[in-house]
Symmetry: C2
Subunit: 306 residues, 2 copies
């Protein structure tokens, strides 16, 4: 791998175009597949505002779905939201050469399995993004803060592909947290996201402090966090006992905050309900862990969306 | 009590003006206390459309809050919604003579206690209305269907006042279901209302079949009904074991239906959350009955309203 690494970003929205920019800064070739923003990006590339400096960049190739790649990439970066009806394996299949690795930068739990099953012979790297970034217009992205990736192979380990990717992202200017057990890191993030995100949507976009300060709100969040911890432990990923109280204290310290799912809801965009909550309840059912509070929130949102 | 019985309706909205009309048809004197619709009703009385015929009527007196009664009534009919911040005892106190009885026509559970404590020496009759009626404009009411009252003394029994009231309402043309244990009847109604009403609000006004047909919806309703049954039993009001399945079958048979709390929510009116759900959870906590699904729905709505 001494040649310039080639990346293809599938789903180059805010997240995808940000990490594409980072890889471009690291000297990689980076192309993108775009649907709605194709014309804008083909003409002018991605324009960024970011505390990291000028991240604006022009992809090496701008593809549309249905195009044929000029050369298969070394890595496909899959950054679409995880939504029912979005067949992620079908989205990436045309771009996967024999040796192409698949890198997921996506939120949620148990979101790797369908891709691991679809591409069993390919390297699969799973990343969690800790970032505040949003697309403000076609090709225009506002990076507000952060950018760290937690990275590891699915379901576990940290192979040479991870090593290479980690080095490239670091060259591009962001922190990488290397993990031999990335699924455990997904569980850890779910302890916060799984209660707060869907509950904020159910409360029509409430911020974190509105949730904690409502009568019974902090108790409900705590109980939901404990349910997530119990499922994680049954799934083989025990988490530190003090994580719930640390999460609560950290949330209060951060001040009122609308999470990304609340913002998706308030802006009329689909929410990643299964990735963040539905999959947790499904695993709980398989492992026979009672999750009445999580299930009630999930079902109420499914009723609303049905 | 051979003289013409005198009634005063406090909160003469749709419900209050309907039962006022029935008592008027039975030959009673019926006056009202009104706030926002005072001018309209003072000028033209109540105008009705109803399958029972022409129920339009002119009250004997139309009062405003702050007025002094000409004569204390035999009965005050209290028909306001049960909402936090509405001091029902203060609303009726100016109109309660030494011998005035208090008749509640209100939804929910444990809604009598604060009035029983405020007026311990007065007869207290508790009624549940099974009716579809709505106020369409000041003084204009549309009665769509039904009208039956379940009636009894609070907390139990069926005294001479109940006998007299029951006879008058029947004279006026509606059915009365006499109950020696009206609190048990409130629990029975809660088995349906406590799950369906708040859940429909949480789902932004979903109808009954949307709730039952969503993934996990029927299971959630069933579980919430079972939680209500368990609290009722612990409170001393065991209900028939087949009530849950009968309720579910009856709901499906009725077809898609938006309950009154869903309509209140969709029309921007306050909802009787405590009367229908909060009081059930409070009793459950006192009696140490676990109600995780009811509590999650309650807390989510409290977060939304906070």
């Amino acid at each position: 791998m001494n040649k310039t690494p080639r990346f293809l970003v599938v789903g180059a929205g805010a997240i995808g175009s940000f990490y594409g920019a980072i890889l471009k800064r690291a000297g990689c070739q980076v192309s993108v597949v775009l649907r709605s923003d194709y014309d804008a990006v083909k003409a002018d590339g991605f324009r960024f505002t970011s505390p990291l400096g000028d991240l604006s960049w022009m992809p090496d190739h701008v593809y549309q779905p249905g195009d044929t790649p000029d050369v298969f990439p070394d890595y496909v970066l899959l950054c679409v939201k995880v939504l029912p009806g979005v067949d992620r394996a079908a989205l990436v299949r045309p771009w996967m050469g024999e040796h192409t690795g698949l890198v997921l930068i996506q939120n949620g739990l148990d979101i790797e399995r369908e891709l691991a099953e679809a591409f069993p012979a390919h390297p699969l790297v799973s990343c969690l993004a800790f970032i505040a970034v949003s697309r403000v217009a076609p090709g225009e992205v506002k990076h507000q803060a952060y950018g760290q990736l937690v990275m590891g192979n699915f379901p576990k380990g940290f192979d040479d592909h991870c090593q290479q990717l980690s080095a490239l992202f670091r060259d591009g200017g962001i922190d990488i947290s290397e993990s031999e057990a990335v699924v455990g890191e997904r569980w850890r993030k779910c302890v916060w996201n799984t209660p707060f995100n869907p509950l904020s949507v159910l409360a029509n976009g409430a911020d974190t402090l509105s949730i904690l300060d409502a009568p019974g709100g902090e108790d409900l969040i705590r109980t939901m966090m404990e349910e997530v911890m119990a499922v994680a432990e049954a799934d083989g990923y025990p988490l530190p006992a003090d994580l719930v109280e640390k999460n609560l204290a950290g949330t209060r310290k951060m001040g009122a905050y609308k999470n990304s799912m609340a913002l998706d809801y308030l802006n009329g965009r689909p929410i990643e309900l299964d990735a963040i909550l539905g999959n947790v309840v499904a695993i709980a059912d398989t492992l026979k862990v009672p999750v009445p509070h999580l299930r009630t929130v999930l079902t109420a949102l499914r009723i609303r969306n049905s």
